[in-house]
Symmetry: C2
Subunit: 786 residues, 2 copies
């Protein structure tokens, strides 16, 4: 996706054989289940805040220090779906004149600690034994260190926090104190604050803050300035000592003096709720109070235990186990890092989105930072969906229902573009198009075809025709209408195509007959026509209802089929597909000759210069060969892979995974491993040097796909599931499970053999390499190569 | 050119044979030399303000009522080169983050008249006998009417104004009063005001106003808010009666009570100066005072006499005389309107630009309104220059020196675009690119090639090699360098071309091998290489100096020649030139099917929708056939004319003239007259319904070209001047003069014969139709067709 606010998404020059020469910045200790920071590096502060982000889909919080201070920090506690808006100058029809963006919500970690007049601020005080640790088996983030005051008093502190994965409005914080060499008082203030400023826009977007306090609890309700959303935040704070309540305009805090005893543990525990459910005013306050009461009755320890159980059950189905081969220690360490990396990816995905709400989608940065405005892009369906389809199909469905619920906005957007049907936004939180760059918002059709693909993929892998008929069909009809009205007949080709578009490769715009767009359009139109026909047969009543609701006539589907049949796909005889009309004539850019300092190109090249050579940002044609993999021959894949990888600069972090998956399929394991390179540790090792802005949530979804589609060779777009296992040299074993149509299937790849078993549900026919097998309870073993 | 602020530049659907079905809104009386408004129509107020604009290149003022009032008005007294600036949000490299725009300057017409407590306001008071009249032989605008007060007092008023064409800092206003049925007092306030608000930006851009007043004169000095420009304005006011001075923050006025006598004439005369010459502070005030003193000594009548002499000498060389044929009265009236129209065009062009200053260029709206921000576009060289070349070659030279003086900004712009050399701006007042739309500012190369063409055309028609060597060569080198760095080799064509451009046809963007751009680039590179070579031979010293100044090496010119030689021009065997790669395949738009209410398309169509069909805004290919007319065969012209006129929607007001000129050349007089249609009266009859915003200065330049190039068939791009007279049926005679290399040549076309005579200067060889002749003092007559 394009970049606007944030500019550091560095691709890098390819060097020799290494196709993506990004360099790891190794900082965290390698451990199978934990991310640990030992000692604190101020310059790494924002990166760690991103890495140690917690989320439970409903809310998210960066790993910032509870006590704030002078350390460089992007402070942000976010609530999914909470945003504000800004008008932008109206220019031409079809160009958005209003944008919306995620804003930091209530800062519930707000804490001040004072010892002997010295305020805890790790940017200023003396401290040692700093350890920050995220345990992916519990979802709890801890941070401990020893604070030594100017007078030599040593106080050990431990901060713990987690976001409840079950009762998602609940968040927990605990701070424990052990004086090592003294007894005496400390002052602790703990509160809630709606004062946090949106860093990019240099503004606090909260107003009309209403306070309510009881003896042991504090509550605030606040409204956003323009979007009119209301949020309730309340906290029960267990804190020994005499308490005072301090209220500011947008803050409320409980302050107390704690009497500490040398060697003894004292604790402050905060149990808070963040309520955002569409209710407003007194109703919201009442609801918030009730939820706070329940939360207040569940202690940190009790909730943490439930949290552990949640993650246990999550890992039971979602874990990917990688064992290193019997190689040298360095390689073993590398594989251990990959193991840790892929778990981090799974963990963050589950934190960002795990279903249950139709109001959320998956932001490019999840709930981990302001970059990309919290917007979700077409990556959701094209990159993230497979992860959910095979680990949490209900969540996959919920993602699609989000699109169903935002159909009215997509219809409206199509109208703005003088088109029929529905056009899904390239960037959105609430369903409205929020991208103010017309060259993206008006020319990129892939959000709409991605939604159709998502429906297709979801129905194919779940068999959920109920969903298809109840939700999918209507979306498909509207998307097909949009495509129909946007397609046109070429004067020379006499075929249909999309003119004046920008494909996923955002280094070419206003192009004609973009192969990806045309092909995805063709498949979408076919699927829509089939679905309508199928619905008519399978459920005539539902069909009649749909026809009435959206004035659907049978001729429409016929027209879609005609357009699909006559869609122009520009391919040469040898199978090489031209990315778009005229691509082959474009002047050549030798991507190896671009100085590393020129990256990211959006920052260093004149804007127009990016758009006129044969250099591509991410591989449109390969993307399409990945998505509809079984529809293309190996030869077509090889010819196109060989051609396009030479032209791709990977300024999209999604690009290498597509290359890796196809390289693995083509047996080019060297390329596959090169491109896999940083997939699992993109953020942990800050390969792009911009993790400080937040995590690359959709990229880490592709890390999962890189392993499962790449090395296990899963293909889910054909008539049955297919695997073509190819274990990387440095791995001894790769083990994971997938959920598939009510089954749990275990896959265990060893060097020369792969084992399949269906540990729950009926036996299933699958294809492994080129042969069919039935996988059931008893273990099926297939030798390498079939 | 594109439109941003202003949106009413309506083209219109073509209907049947009529290619540009715009409809006249006839309002002013037809007269050979005057524009007269008899009776006042409030709804026509802004249009009349534009039509009655006065200018003397240095300053301009709309025809607004001196006394202001509640009538709908766009009040603006402009000073050429006076602008202010605004920052815009920084986005990507190469996209401007600062714009500049012409602002209304000192309102020197500021007048208040009170009679018996009733304030003169034509929106409120009772009046009759309203006549407003512009005499193009004197440049004086008069307005008279009789004001009848509630009590029945009848006062006849006459307002006169003119802008001195010789002493251009001087402006004159006279108001005369004749009480028809009473004697008594009126109060008159006359002053200067820097309070005028920029209507589009809703802001007054003047600050730090310094006052100075003497007994009979008032003075103000003011500064712009951001551009740091300073303007002095002073007025000597002759006003009988006791005078009081009233000073406001940004205003100063003299107020007096005039004792009027029934039937007698009293007058108030204001002689003012507007000084803007780069000087500042006290120096500016001192200079202003001196200029005001001189001005104050020259009465309205004396100055008006000089003014008349100026216009007499202007018309002696610049007039175009059209005599109607012996047809019906309606047709004769139509021709009379054409006669008036073409004089209005010449008059307004001379008011806008007539040379002598290198600081000004020709704004798209001249000094007649805020639209287009006062910016000059590439139209200056491509559309306006011929008028000056053949009526005022010194002014043509000055226009080119403006480009020379702004070479540093053009160099800077090229750097911003990652290119070498110099890139001239698409829109500018001061030389800096001021267009914030990257798709225009970064993709349109025609400003640079137009400057090169202008130099070429100027040198060809004047033989002024001094200019070429002193100024032209350096510009040409820098433009050639820019083009060299912007051109690239096509991977398939193996030829050079410009990729990712927007041609003059602004309905296609980010196209490759745009024929116009490639061809103009080719000719520019050739001309630059020739010029450098020629300079080396003709003036080795100057050449050496230039080489040193701009580090020019001989290899550079060789490279330009190589690129020019290998430039790709996409033409079919039958001569049809493809506007750009892929144009022939673009989906068809039936331009006849577009509802009239859809125009202008920029307002009614989704922005992206404009860019993806075979509909074009203005004819790139035809433009190139017009500019380098002698380089193309008649067949090529015919084939391309026939093809492109079907696709052209004329949303540019320059488009019809190009069609008309080529149609005349091809003997298609029906088309030629259809397209000529509104050329001479575009603004007088408000064909585009947006004259209220200001006059279409560059379009009216094309009206001159439409007659001289179209019906006299002048061609000035070949080895000698050529004429191919084709007199429109409804004309009996067309008579005009041109200046050419020190000669004055008279051309008089009759139905079957054309007379040429060289009334000043040496005899000249010319081509008429296809034969060569020598034109000298004695009249040469050539029958129709040669």
């Amino acid at each position: 996706m394009y970049r606007r606010e944030s500019r550091a998404d560095a691709g890098s020059v390819t060097e020799g054989r290494k196709h993506v020469a990004k360099v790891a910045n190794i900082y965290y200790a390698v451990d199978p289940w934990k991310i640990t920071e030992k000692g604190f590096d101020k310059d790494h502060s924002r990166v760690s805040e991103s890495i140690f982000s917690l989320g439970n889909e409903s809310t998210g919080v960066r790993g910032s220090f509870d006590e704030g201070g002078s350390i460089d920090s992007l402070r942000g506690a976010y609530i999914n779906g909470v945003y504000d808006m800004a008008d932008i100058e109206r220019s031409y029809r079809g160009i958005v004149d209003k944008v919306h963006f995620m804003i930091p919500a209530c800062d519930w970690l707000d804490t001040t600690i004072i010892l002997e007049g010295e305020k805890l601020d790790l940017g200023k005080v003396k401290f040692c034994d700093f350890v920050r640790e995220l345990d992916m088996r519990t979802g709890i983030l801890t941070r401990s260190f020893v604070w030594e005051t100017a007078a030599g008093k040593r106080l050990k502190l431990c901060f713990e926090r987690f976001l409840d994965m079950v009762n998602r409005e609940r968040v927990y914080q605990r701070i424990t104190f052990i004086p090592e060499n003294f007894s005496g008082n400390i002052t602790v203030k703990s509160g809630l604050s709606f004062e946090t400023v949106h860093e990019g826009r240099k503004k606090c977007f909260w107003k009309d803050v209403i306070h309510k306090t009881l003896e042991d609890r504090i509550m605030l309700k606040a409204s956003t300035t323009k979007s009119g959303q209301e949020v309730f935040s309340g906290a029960v704070i267990d804190m020994p000592g005499e308490r005072t309540i301090e209220s500011g305009e947008k803050t409320v805090r409980i302050s107390a003096c704690l009497n500490l005893t040398e060697g003894k543990t004292s604790a402050v525990e905060k149990r808070a709720v963040l309520v955002f459910d569409g209710s407003t005013g007194d109703a919201l306050i009442q609801k918030g109070e009730e939820l706070l009461s329940k939360c207040g009755q569940t202690s940190f320890d009790v909730a943490a235990k439930e949290q552990k159980a949640y993650w246990d059950s999550y890992w039971a189905v979602s874990d990917i186990l990688i064992e290193p081969g019997d190689t040298d220690a360095k390689t073993r360490e590398r594989v251990a890092a990959e193991q840790q990396g892929i778990r981090f990816c799974s963990f963050q995905l589950a934190q960002t989105y795990n279903g249950g709400s139709f109001l959320h989608n998956i932001g490019a940065k999840g709930l981990t930072g302001e970059a990309y405005n919290g917007h979700a892009f077409w990556d959701t369906e094209s990159c993230c969906l497979p992860f959910y389809l095979f680990t949490n199909p209900e969540a996959a469905k919920d993602l699609l229902i989000f699109r169903y619920n935002t159909l009215p906005m997509a219809r409206n957007r199509a109208r703005m573009l003088d088109c029929e049907g529905a056009c899904y936004p390239i960037a959105t939180l609430n369903g409205d198009e929020a991208c103010s760059l017309w060259q993206h918002a008006s020319l990129q059709l892939q959000p709409s075809t991605a939604v159709a693909y998502g429906i297709w993929h979801y129905v194919k892998t779940t068999g959920d025709t109920d969903f298809l008929y109840k939700y999918g069909a209507e979306m498909l009809v509207e998307i097909a209408r949009f495509l129909k009205s946007r397609a046109a007949l070429g004067n020379l080709t006499g075929k249909y195509g999309f003119y004046g578009v920008m494909g996923p490769d955002e280094f070419h715009l206003m192009v004609n007959n973009n192969a990806y767009t045309n092909y995805m359009g063709k498949r979408t139109l076919e699927f829509a026509a089939e679905t309508v026909k199928e619905l008519g047969k399978a459920d005539p009543e539902a069909y009649a209802k749909l026809c009435e609701k959206i004035k659907l006539s049978p001729e429409e589907a016929e027209k879609w089929s005609e357009i699909a049949e006559n869609m122009y796909i520009p391919a040469r005889e040898d199978g090489l597909i031209e990315q778009h009309d005229g691509f082959f004539d474009l002047p050549h850019t030798d991507i190896d000759s671009i100085p590393v300092t020129d990256f990211p190109l959006y920052d260093h090249w004149s804007y127009d210069r990016i758009y006129r050579t044969d250099m591509i940002k991410q591989p449109d044609v390969l993307m399409m060969l990945y998505l509809y993999n079984s529809s293309f021959t190996e030869n077509v894949k090889r010819v196109n892979y060989d051609f396009y990888r030479q032209h791709t600069i990977h300024e999209s972090s999604l690009s290498p995974a597509i290359h890796s998956i196809l390289a693995a399929e083509l047996g080019n394991m060297e390329d596959a491993m090169d491109f896999f390179g940083f997939a699992t540790r993109l953020d942990l090792d800050d390969y792009n040097r911009n993790t400080r802005e937040g995590l690359h949530i959709t990229s880490i979804a592709m890390a999962w796909a890189n392993i499962v589609y790449g090395f296990a060779g899963l293909r889910s777009d054909g008539d049955m599931l297919k695997f073509s296992p190819r274990l990387p040299d440095r791995w001894k074993e790769l083990k994971f499970s997938i959920l598939y149509k009510g089954r749990v299937i275990n896959i265990r790849m060893e060097r020369d053999i792969t084992f399949f078993s269906c540990i729950s549900g009926e036996a299933l026919k699958i294809r492994v390499y080129d042969s069919e097998y039935t996988v059931s309870h008893s273990e099926l073993s297939v030798p390498f190569g079939g």
